[in-house]
């Protein structure tokens, strides 16, 4: 069984909500990433979404755009990202790792080679933001062959028919985008999200995780009551940005943000 499925099975048994932090690999520099991943686990992360930096992150707001720029100043490539995951895996064999990013680095790397090396490094799932299920024909079977799960987005604008298709193709969990906008956008309407999740539950058994607009304990707790997992990205990445020049302070800064969310979720 894939680590992601195992983790959700365990959480279900414990009656807990998954806390899923996102950081960009190589931000503020490649040497820090594995350590930051451990720090995230220590402060309550159940799954880690590790961003693959891209020059043109069209679905991201300024916070994650800048994280990509910092990582790319160090020429962080997929091979480096795989090395970071391997390093993380030496100290943590259990926490699922999902690579999140855009398709072009994968296109350039080669689909087969990507699937093979990602799986070998200890990656469990992949979310390519600009690859809807309709465009995943070629990649999905390769993921399957290498035991990687393909994770897809569902948005407030997704029609019911499309949602059904996405649920058919999705594995691991569904990433529900809570609002129309880019990452790091401000407000999230919990009631509206709740209604959408109810609709999705009629279509799928997959865990439903909600991202975009979760910035503190209160918003995490509010979403945690209706979702199987909460995903937090920009709120963490902005802490990394603040301490980019004093990277030794980043683990504690991340722990403060994530720890508060963990507490709020478990309360």
């Amino acid at each position: 069984m894939n680590r992601i499925d195992q983790r959700f099975a365990a959480l279900k048994e414990q009656g807990r909500t998954a806390l899923i932090p996102y950081i960009t690999a190589g931000d503020p520099a490649p040497a820090h990433t594995a350590g930051l991943m451990h720090a995230l686990v220590e402060s309550g992360a159940d799954i880690i979404e590790l961003g693959v930096p891209f020059s043109d992150p069209m679905a991201d707001g300024p916070v994650i755009q800048k994280a990509c720029e910092r990582a790319l100043r160090h020429h962080t490539r997929l091979t480096d990202v795989f090395e970071m995951v391997r390093e993380f895996r030496r100290g943590d064999a259990e926490t699922p790792v999902v690579l999140m990013g855009y398709l072009n680095p994968v296109e350039r790397f080669g689909y087969e080679r990507f699937a093979e090396q990602a799986a070998a490094a200890g990656v469990d799932g992949v979310l390519a933001v600009d690859m809807p299920p309709e465009e995943a024909d070629e990649l999905a079977p390769l993921f399957k062959a290498h035991g990687l799960q393909a994770i897809f987005l569902v948005a407030p604008t997704t029609s019911r028919a499309r949602a059904a298709t996405i649920c058919d193709h999705g594995e691991g969990y569904l990433y529900y985008v809570s609002l129309k906008g880019v990452t790091g956008s401000a407000s999230l309407d919990v009631d509206a999200v709740s209604e959408q999740l109810d609709g999705l539950r009629e279509l799928t058994e997959l865990p439903l995780c909600v991202g975009f607009g979760i910035r503190d304990g209160a918003s995490a707790a509010a979403v945690g009551r209706i979702a199987d997992g909460v995903i937090v990205g920009s709120a963490l990445v902005s802490r990394i940005a603040e301490h980019a020049e004093q990277p030794e302070q980043i683990p504690d800064a991340l722990k403060r943000v994530l720890g508060e969310m963990r507490q709020a979720l478990d309360a």
Partner: protein, 404 residues
């Protein structure tokens, strides 16, 4: 039926041109693209819609644009006869308006009160601001900060037309970054905003509908050739950035096997220097950007690389997916013209024919200049003069060391 007839039946139902094209977007936009596709599918064969489009092109844009025989320049080059398809004479000064008229009609039908656009040289921005003014739509135009600087005149034109021009400071501060920012806006405001994409790129159905709206250029050129030349031309030449003017000219000739086509990309300092914007000529690897798969300039890590061109309108690392396929099947030959040759062609046409071309269009002229002497005087080349050069006067003046 000719060996290229299959090309006229693309894209397929999922927006693919062979391995290229498609709809590589984040999920939030999928619905809007499906809606747009449905709306367009139902309108493209609707006689009322076509009549309205044709009427606007005739009475607002000033179509048909003439096919002009550049006799003096042809004589000097000493080979084939060069004919210019005068898209520069359109209202707003370029072919871009053909597409914005069409998309504005779609926007109007959609009932959305706001349009956005990306622009490089500013021609598409101006064309969008123009149709927005005419229809009373709110208009925001994203433009790379570097392009805002080098195309000041068009920026001011857009502002006079009531559009809000938003300089984009991220990335390379050019066209691709403007498109990133426009997509970010669209994903945020998708309920009330229609995105008027300016070239035959972007996610399906944009490459198809921008092609269809610009195909009027080639339809006219084909008819005009039959009347004025007495037969089809031997060659077509057009510049290619995203590739909308080339697509517009070429598409109605696709099945005419005997008509040779040249797409001229921005060679910048030379394709061999790496400082260019010529993904097809340079055989750039396959990649995915802005919603479609195409030839894309990127480094080994898959990061999109900076481009260089004297002309802001061609300064783009990708190219329309249909061009990518046409390269692979050999229907069109893609070549590059370097900045210095482009300037030379710009000056030559201005002096010899009294027509000042846009620097983008001067790429096509630069290749025509190479091509014509290799052909006989009884052969004919149609060059798409896709836009006028007024907007580039400051750029050329700067090169000449003239300050205003």
């Amino acid at each position: 039926m000719t060996k290229f007839s299959d090309l006229t039946r693309l894209p397929d139902a999922r927006g693919h041109f062979g391995p290229y094209g498609g709809r590589f977007v984040s999920e939030t936009l999928s619905f809007a693209l499906e809606e747009l596709e449905k709306a367009y599918q139902s309108l493209r064969d609707d006689p009322d819609f076509q009549a309205e489009f044709d009427r606007d092109l005739a009475t607002y844009v000033g179509r048909p644009s003439p096919l002009y025989h550049a006799e003096r320049w042809s004589r000097q080059l000493g080979g084939a006869q060069i004919w210019l398809k005068r898209e520069d004479l359109n209202h707003t000064g370029a072919h871009k308006v053909n597409n914005t008229i069409g998309q504005a009609l779609l926007a109007k039908k959609s009932g959305k009160p706001r349009v956005i656009a990306e622009t490089g040289a500013g021609q598409h921005g101006v064309a969008t601001a123009t149709v927005a003014a005419r229809l009373g739509l709110q208009c925001d135009v994203y433009m790379g900060a570097e392009d805002v600087e080098r195309q000041k005149l068009n920026v001011y034109r857009m502002r006079l037309l009531g559009a809000n021009v938003i300089p984009v400071e991220s990335g390379s501060r050019t066209l691709k970054d403007a498109m990133n920012e426009a997509l970010r806006d669209w994903v945020t405001n998708v309920d009330d905003t229609f995105y008027i994409i300016g070239t035959v790129a972007g996610p399906h159905p944009y490459p198809m509908l921008v092609r269809d709206f610009n195909a009027v250029v080639g339809r006219e050129a084909r008819e005009q050739s039959l009347v004025q030349i007495g037969r089809l031309p031997d060659a077509l030449v057009a510049c290619v950035g995203g590739g909308s003017n080339a697509m517009g000219l070429f598409y109605p000739f696709v099945e005419d096997e005997d008509v040779v086509m040249y797409g001229v990309e921005a060679g910048g300092d030379g394709v061999e220097t790496g400082r260019h914007a010529a993904p097809l000529t340079a055989n750039a690897p396959r990649g995915v950007l802005h919603g479609n798969r195409t030839y894309l300039m990127s480094d080994e890590g898959g990061q999109v690389t900076d481009t260089h061109s004297i002309s802001a309108g061609l300064d783009y690392p990708g190219v329309g997916p249909e061009h990518a396929l046409w390269k692979d099947v050999g229907r069109v030959q893609y070549v590059a013209a370097n900045d210095d040759k482009v300037l030379e062609a710009f000056r030559e046409l201005t002096r010899m024919e009294g027509i000042m071309p846009a620097l983008e269009s001067a790429h096509a002229l630069a290749h025509a200049k190479v091509l014509a002497p290799t052909m006989r005087p009884d052969q004919h080349i149609v060059v798409n003069l896709s836009g006028r050069g007024d907007k580039d006067i400051l750029t050329v003046a700067k090169i000449d060391g003239v300050e205003f």
